[in-house]
């Protein structure tokens, strides 16, 4: 589904590369986790996949369903089924979650050649999901993410994930700043959406989210490259002994 080959990327107008030849491959239905120390390029990678304009890709290839996506706008990538749950979701003043999701879902359905949902059908779906994700119904009457607590923002990301049903969901440190209850909600959301044709890429610093979402594959990212790939047990290893050995090895290269 997602194929990343020798990806090099940096911040716009900066010389130093953050991603220095990252390669990985995610098959349909797989859950991958990327773990790594601070500054290893985890968030950069997640954002580059969706085409955040703050980054520039210097070389490498990224295909989604065998289509080269690096020339596509972020919204075109999203319409093809990619989704990024943001580490720091932007505040959207004056736009209510309802309006926002209606616009997003309409765009997606139009791309798929489907008619937009009627307001009534959309409202029902929306209300059901709001309840399922455990969001305070008063919250979704406010401007999107404005004045939301960290946990509320993350729940709201999960609401969007559930509404939009992407084929590849990238979770950028969704666990950071969450208490155990919120963590469980995120995990339940992901687990309920797991299916043979939907994949996940979970970017995290800590192993704890992976107690709730069992990954098929774990990658260790250090200094812009994947230095180790393994099964779920790799996350436990990192939890017990830290990233030090990988950093030392990467430095020695």
């Amino acid at each position: 589904m997602l194929q990343v080959t020798d990806l090099h990327a940096s911040v716009v107008d900066a010389d130093e590369e953050i991603l220095k030849g990252l390669s990985l491959s995610i098959g349909a239905g797989e859950v991958h986790a990327i773990m790594g120390p601070n500054g290893s390029g985890k968030s950069t990678f997640a954002n580059v996949l969706l085409g955040r304009p703050d980054y520039v890709v210097n070389s490498g290839v990224v295909t989604f369903d065998d289509e080269d996506i690096l020339e596509l706008f972020p919204d075109q990538r999203a319409l093809r089924g990619m989704f990024l749950a943001f580490q720091y979701p932007a505040e959207i003043p004056g736009v209510r979650p309802w309006q926002f999701l209606k616009a997003a879902l309409d765009a997606r359905r139009e791309y798929a050649g489907e008619k937009p949902l009627s307001v009534r059908d959309f409202s029902k779906l929306f209300d059901d999901k709001v309840e399922a994700v455990g969001i305070d119904p008063d919250l979704v009457k406010r401007s999107l993410n404005e004045g939301f607590s960290g946990g509320e923002k993350k729940r709201n990301e999960m609401l969007q994930l559930e509404m939009l049903e992407p084929r590849l969901a990238i979770l950028d440190e969704t666990d950071s700043g969450l208490d155990v209850d919120a963590l469980r909600i995120v995990a339940e959301g992901v687990n309920s959406l797991r299916s043979p044709d939907r994949s996940f890429l979970i970017v995290t610093h800590y192993q704890r989210l992976l107690n709730y979402i069992k990954p098929d594959v774990v990658h260790i990212l250090v200094d812009g490259r994947i230095v180790e790939t393994g099964g779920p047990e790799l996350a436990i290893t990192v939890e017990n002994s830290g990233y030090e050995q990988y950093i030392t090895a990467a430095m020695a290269d």
Binding site: L50, G51, D75, I92, G94, V95, L101, A103, A104, A107
Partner: protein, 441 residues
């Protein structure tokens, strides 16, 4: 006379012709003359040096004698055209003025509950018209107040009786049609009785493409405990000059809540001054201005707290694109006696192009020592973080930007508490957003 230029001569001739062809009662005739005398002595405020009040707005284009008073009868306007183009509801009491002249056939006023909603010349008007007209927007207020007074013919007079509770809207609709570079002088006087409630809408629209010059003056008087919900809608065409003067006089515990919407004319000015002249008065001045092309919109908003325990808010928002320019010059004056005053000022702007310019100058001038005041202003482009966030959900950049603009504007539009009016303004905003976007960087 002192006005030696083409404008001066033309206006002098117009004034002379007006006094002969459009006679009014003696007291109004005297008021006219005082207006003319004042305008004649000062002319348009076109000086570019030391002219602090007009620092950002150059009226040279207005001072070339192009516009003049038109003595023809106002052209016929189909009622359906008004319903389509102007804010309108059959549930409102509406006085319609076409090119400054009252149109009885287009107006519809529901009678009852003792409210007077009439043209100035109506013989049934109470003495209150005479005692209040020109008292709060005096002829020496500014050149436009003087000019408007000099050319007084028709106008909307609204008298709200004491203790009135009904707030079904009263609408004063001033329409400009094409033809003959018209100068029109809409005039409004609203006097609200003790503990009364009312909703008053002033709107200014043009039906043609030709530019005119509109210089409205509106006076609002709020007696003890009175509450007025006020709306001012400026949707004249892009060639228009619109220099509006609003003066509000508030007595104790009265509440004036105003929302202004301005779609930039060629040169526009919304000059508002509120005097809180008794304890416990409260005034809220909100506004939204949208400018593009070469439009210029100047919001000159000022509040004077003369007595204690008053509260005032000024909250304006602007969206600017193209090579347009807007001004927010907000002033709050807290006089020595006005202890326990609370005053807040805010002006927020979305500036979508490098060619656009906002001059925002909120200022507090405080002479009392026990007050709570705050002000702030911002100007910025649509947030790229927000755009990317929306794109990452499949919403394209243009749609995302439009949603942000709509969201920005909605904070003011949503304050409009009259359904039909909110829908109208909302519709205008929707129409304008693509034009603002087309002229954005």
């Amino acid at each position: 006379m002192t006005l030696a230029n083409a404008t001066g001569e033309k206006y002098a001739a117009d004034f002379k012709a007006l006094t002969e062809s459009r006679p009014v009662s003696d007291w109004m005739s005297e008021l006219r003359q005082s207006g003319w005398d004042h305008f004649d002595s000062i002319g348009f405020p076109t000086a570019r040096r030391g002219n602090e009040l007009w620092k950002y707005t150059n009226l040279a284009a207005l001072d070339q004698g192009k516009f003049g008073f038109q003595f023809d009868e106002p052209g016929a306007v189909e009622p359906d055209v008004l319903r389509e183009r102007a804010p309108w509801s059959d549930d409102w009491s509406t006085l319609v003025f076409i090119n400054g002249r009252y149109s009885e056939s287009l107006s519809q006023v529901s009678s009852g509950d003792g409210v007077q909603v009439r043209n100035f010349s109506d013989p049934a008007n109470s003495e209150s018209l005479r005692t209040n007209l020109g008292t709060h927007a005096a002829v020496d207020e500014n050149a436009f107040s003087a000019l408007n007074t000099a050319f007084l013919v028709d106008g909307g007079f609204v008298q709200i009786p004491d203790n009135r509770e009904d707030t079904s809207p009263i609408h004063l609709l001033f329409v400009t049609t094409s033809g003959g570079s018209r100068a029109i002088y809409p005039r409004t006087l609203v006097v609200s009785g003790i503990n009364s409630r009312s909703t008053v809408i002033e709107s200014y629209i043009s039906l043609g493409e030709e530019g005119g010059f509109t210089a409205p003056v509106a006076e609002y008087v709020l007696n003890s405990g009175a509450g007025i919900e006020h709306y001012r809608v400026l949707v004249e065409n892009e060639e228009s000059f619109h220099i509006g003067t609003t003066r509000v006089y508030q007595l104790d515990n009265s509440t004036f809540t105003s929302t202004s919407f301005a779609l930039g004319p060629k040169i526009g000015r919304n000059d508002v001054h509120v005097l809180l002249d008794a304890p416990g008065a409260e005034c809220t001045l909100n506004g939204l201005y949208l400018t593009t092309g070469d439009q210029h919109m100047d919001n000159h908003i000022s509040t004077t707290h003369a007595k204690p325990n008053g509260t005032s808010h000024q909250f304006y928002k602007g969206v600017l694109s193209g090579n347009s320019r807007a001004v927010f010059s907000g002033r709050v004056l807290v006089e020595k006696d006005a202890q326990k005053t609370q005053a807040f000022q805010k002006d927020l702007n979305l500036v979508l192009s490098h060619g656009a310019e906002i001059d925002t100058k909120p200022s507090l001038e405080i002479y009392a020592d026990d007050v709570q005041c705050a002000h702030g202003a911002t100007a910025g482009h649509t947030d790229p973080e927000a755009i990317f966030y929306m794109q990452a959900r499949g919403i394209d950049e243009v749609t995302a930007q439009a949603m942000l603009m709509r969201g920005f504007a909605s904070e003011i539009v949503d304050m409009i508490g009259v359904d039909g009016l909110q829908d109208y303004v909302h519709g205008v905003v929707e129409e304008v957003i693509p034009r603002l976007q087309a002229a954005a960087d």
